[in-house]
């Protein structure tokens, strides 16, 4: 069902059991109060999809006693409009396309009449403008564009009464279900601006914004938050902190995709523009960086992680940031020396920390890939020594097991395992000058932060070569810390879980009949609730 115009209803609507005859008795000639009963009657007719009877009754009113009532002419138009909407909803396309042209003419005639009688009734005028725009949109987009501007102007010109606010919000809510959300945002902006004229406090606006978020109305929430922040313009410090706080509500986390990570980053930047780095405490700075990482804007994420290291002395999860920067530098930026530098910092500054194992493995792997097998052997040995010192289970620890595989390859002078080698070639070799453009390969895990033994799903998405509906047959070679799944599928999805906490780096190479096409990576973090709780 499309938008139901109920702005004239003064009381809660009747139940279906109420007799339409009783309502008709209430409707007396030239009695403005009886308009409320008309609306109640229409609610019953519309609920029963009994549009023709409603229309005939309204016509009888228009002929007898209500000929000067714009509301009746509006209702006549609305009834026809609702019937077309009902046909659309029930996919009665013959009705829509064989009858609606006549109905639309009637709608326009009734709206013209209603408008001519409603010059001092802004609520009716707004309804008329909305219905006229709605009835025109699909048939005459050019004219609809002008009608929408008229609608906006009418809404802006309305007095800030409760009825007006309610109507404007209703229209905004209706528009939010349209493909072009910008129309809804423009109406919500008018709504919020009229709320401001009602002298709502900032705290009230903030509460309404939160309520809108809870009601899944993100567009209205954004308008309300922005109005709230607008009230703080005189206090830059507070405005910046509150802007960060708004951003945090839209941000991506490892557990959820976030309401609107792009909007969150725009708000973080707005806060930064207000007072610079002072807008962010360590937590906010980390959330900003991680949000960018989840958006796969690795370059920007790297800058924000580095900002975390540069600007804060206390509370920075330093080794974790080094590791993230190492992975992003090596596999996203394809800058192996820079990656090695960050991994070496963990080795140097946290030599006995379990995270040093991760750094040793990455240092070993990147060295092995570069043909520096002696260096690689040193790193792998250091990893095994540390694992023993930390009393880890050497038969279960994924890094230990991977390290042994790598050591064996070096000892036996074999190539790196097929899947891993393809991944490294996909990342580094295909990026070399003169190579054909690799396929864009995105590897995303959901969730990317999880507890021990909690399942996660890695999904590969590729850009599309120009092959129309004929998709190339790809095979997917997985590598790295792929968790508990024993039989890794040759498929674009991998569901797995992890029995050990820490960072896990997973790679995938995409291959078709003409060879390696591209590679992607993902970094997930496994939390041990027992350790986190301590």
């Amino acid at each position: 069902m499309s938008w139901t115009f109920s702005a004239f209803a003064q009381e809660p609507g009747p139940t279906k059991a109420q007799d339409t005859a009783a309502l008709k008795q209430k409707i007396e000639k030239n009695d403005a109060d009886s308009l409320s009963a008309v609306e109640d009657l229409l609610d019953i007719y519309f609920a029963d999809n009994n549009y023709e009877e409603a229309y005939q009754y309204l016509e009888s009113l228009a002929k007898d006693g209500f000929d000067k009532s714009p509301e009746i002419y509006f209702d006549l138009a609305l009834t026809r409009s609702e019937e077309i909407a009902y046909w659309q909803e029930t996919k009665n396309w013959e009705g829509v396309y064989d009858k609606s042209a006549d109905y639309k003419k009637e709608i326009m005639d009734h709206l013209d009449k209603a408008e001519s009688l409603a010059m001092d009734k802004p609520s009716v005028l707004l309804g008329v403008k909305f219905l006229r725009w709605q009835a025109t949109g699909e048939d005459d987009p050019d004219r609809a564009f002008g009608l929408f501007n008229e609608l906006l102007y009418t809404a802006k010109s309305m007095p800030s009464s409760a009825t007006a606010l309610d109507m404007i919000k209703q229209i905004g809510d209706e528009l939010a279900s349209y493909e072009d959300k910008s129309m809804a945002r423009r109406f919500y902006e008018i709504y919020v601006s009229k709320l401001g004229e009602s002298h709502l406090t900032g705290e009230e606006l903030k509460a309404m914004a939160l309520q809108s978020l809870n009601e899944d109305n993100m567009f209205l929430a954004k308008s309300l938050y922005e109005a709230y922040l607008g009230q703080l313009a005189d206090n830059k410090d507070l405005a910046a902190k509150e802007t960060v706080s708004v951003a945090d509500k839209f941000v991506a986390t490892g557990k959820e995709d976030g309401l609107d990570p792009g909007y969150a980053e725009a708000m973080y930047q707005k806060a930064y523009d207000l007072i610079g780095q002072a807008a962010f405490d360590v937590g906010a700075q980390y959330r900003r960086a991680y949000n960018l990482e989840r958006m796969k804007d690795f370059q920007a994420a790297g800058r924000q992680y580095q900002g975390l290291l540069d600007n804060y002395k206390e509370g920075v999860p330093q080794k974790e940031i080094y590791f993230r920067l190492g992975v992003l530098s090596a596999y996203a930026e394809k800058n192996i020396p820079k990656g090695l530098e960050y991994f070496s910092k963990i080795k140097a500054e946290f030599p006995k920390d379990p995270m040093a194992l991760d750094s040793f493995y990455q240092l070993g792997l990147l060295s092995q890939w570069q043909g520096q097998t002696d260096k690689a052997k040193e790193f792998y040995s250091a990893l095994l020594t540390l694992a023993k010192e930390l009393n880890l289970d050497l038969e279960k620890n994924d890094l230990v097991l991977l390290t042994r595989e790598r050591q064996k390859e070096i000892e036996e002078k074999k190539e790196i395992a097929y899947g891993l080698k393809l991944f490294l070639e996909g990342i580094f070799k295909l990026a070399e000058p003169g190579q054909r453009a690799p396929l864009d390969v995105d590897l995303t895990a959901r969730p990317a932060e999880m507890d021990l033994n909690q399942s996660t799903k890695f999904v590969v998405t590729t850009s599309n070569p120009q092959t129309g509906c004929l998709m190339p047959a790809y095979s997917y070679e997985w590598s790295g810390q792929t968790g508990s799944t024993n039989n890794i599928p040759n498929a674009p999805e991998l569901v797995t879980d992890y029995s050990l906490s820490g960072f896990k780096v997973v790679g995938v190479a995409v291959v078709d009949s003409s060879g390696l096409q591209g590679a992607g990576f993902e970094m997930v973090e496994i939390e041990n609730p027992q350790i986190s709780g301590e």
Partner: protein, 410 residues
């Protein structure tokens, strides 16, 4: 007297020495028009593969006792369809002739007849192999000889998206000679030259035996047409398969500089399933098709705002085809699968589906199907697009920014 009788008979038996039945006319302004019986003809068509629910790709619909083309022909005529495109004739060309004749004589619907050119042969289409080429050529010529005198025939289409195989990623084929080149780009160009030269040979032969109907070349997008421009000069019409969402982009103007031939959009459309919201979506399908047809009309001859090189299109497709997902599995032929087969970001309304897999091959029909009892014809359920295109053809206009309501929610 005897001479008079003989002369009369010969004239009566032979073809009238009139102009070609179907031909392409180049106008003074450089625009192209398809002429049928000496009148301009806009192709308002659909791709037509009436495979019933429960049957697979090798089903011989030409012999279907329920005669789907009769029910469909009536619905098509009501909608305004004047052309159907068949991808390939059935093996029994007599039954094919009957279908073409029924559609034309009862509903005024003309036929574009295609050939896969052995593209889906097992193990691969060896276009660089002389014997394979000869076989493909003879198959096509046999088809032309058998069908060319059917009044309903509009023109022939050689191939479909066969050019996507040049890269070696789709249905790969090659030869020792090509493989020796080594460089992937050189191999691709060599395959293009091989394939398009075959097209040209067949086009030349068709012209000899059937001067009454043009020859079109099916091509996925505009890929490799620079090669075709040198090697497939005898083709009359370019028949493109294009999936670019609501628009065809710069294709009409771009074509003028690469392969300046009249263009028919031989396959385009939009599926009626939203892979993100996981539900049927008639609204987006209708809106996309209306926009696509609007661009076709804008680029017809004598429209000053367009390129003037388009002669119409055939929407993919008339009815859904339930066999297409996992076509090797007969168990799936009775199931209307909702798992996507491919991805295309230009169909933005559901591109957020997992892995961006948003194109549902079994849902492209402008008519849905419902299983009927026994061997009766599946029920045809026209989607919104059927009516939207019908109205568009009655009153063509440029769709600029139709306000589209949908259920995407806030």
């Amino acid at each position: 007297m005897l001479l008079f009788v003989v002369g009369f008979c010969l004239t009566g038996m032979g073809k009238a020495p009139s102009a070609k039945a179907v031909y392409v006319k180049t106008l003074k302004n450089g625009h192209y028009q398809l002429m049928v019986d000496n009148k301009p003809f806009i192709i308002k068509g659909v791709c037509y593969s009436p495979i019933p629910i429960g049957q697979g790709h090798d089903y011989d619909f030409w012999s279907n006792a329920a005669k789907p083309w009769e029910t469909d022909g009536a619905l098509m005529k009501k909608m305004g369809v004047n052309t159907v495109r068949f991808y390939q004739p059935g093996e029994n060309l007599d039954t094919v002739k009957k279908v073409i004749a029924d559609l034309y004589e009862h509903y005024g619907i003309r036929t574009i007849m295609g050939s896969w050119l052995g593209f889906w042969n097992y193990p691969a289409p060896f276009y660089d192999d002389a014997a394979f080429r000869e076989k493909v050529k003879q198959d096509v010529l046999n088809m032309v000889r058998a069908l060319k005198d059917e009044k309903g025939i509009l023109f022939w289409v050689l191939g479909n998206e066969n050019n996507y195989s040049f890269s070696g990623k789709i249905n790969p084929w090659s030869s020792e000679r090509i493989d020796k080149m080594g460089d992937p780009r050189q191999c691709l160009l060599a395959r293009a030259e091989v394939y398009y030269s075959l097209i040209n040979e067949i086009a030349q032969e068709i012209h000899k035996i059937d001067p009454d109907h043009p020859v079109a070349m099916g091509n996925g997008e505009l890929a490799c047409l620079d090669v075709a421009n040198k090697t497939a000069k005898d083709v009359d019409i370019l028949a493109c398969i294009i999936y670019r969402g609501k628009t065809f982009g710069n294709i009409f103007n771009s074509l003028k500089t690469t392969y300046n031939k009249p263009l028919v959009l031989i396959e385009f459309g939009c599926d009626a399933y939203n892979a993100y919201e996981k539900k049927e979506d008639e609204e987006d399908q209708a809106a996309f098709l209306e926009s696509q047809w609007s661009e076709i009309y804008k680029n017809l001859a004598n429209n000053p705002s367009g390129a003037g090189n388009c002669i119409g299109g055939t929407t993919f497709e008339w009815t859904d085809e339930w066999w297409k997902h996992n076509d090797w599995d007969p168990n799936g032929w009775s199931v209307h699968d909702t798992e996507s087969n491919w991805s295309n970001a230009a169909y933005y309304f559901d591109i957020k589906a997992e892995r961006n897999m948003n194109m549902n091959e079994e849902w492209f029909g402008i008519l849905g199907l419902q299983k009927a009892e026994g061997d009766a014809l599946d029920k045809r359920i026209p989607r919104k697009a059927y009516y939207v295109i019908r109205e568009f053809w009655k009153h063509p206009y440029d769709v600029k920014a139709a306000t589209k309501k949908n259920n995407h929610g806030a």
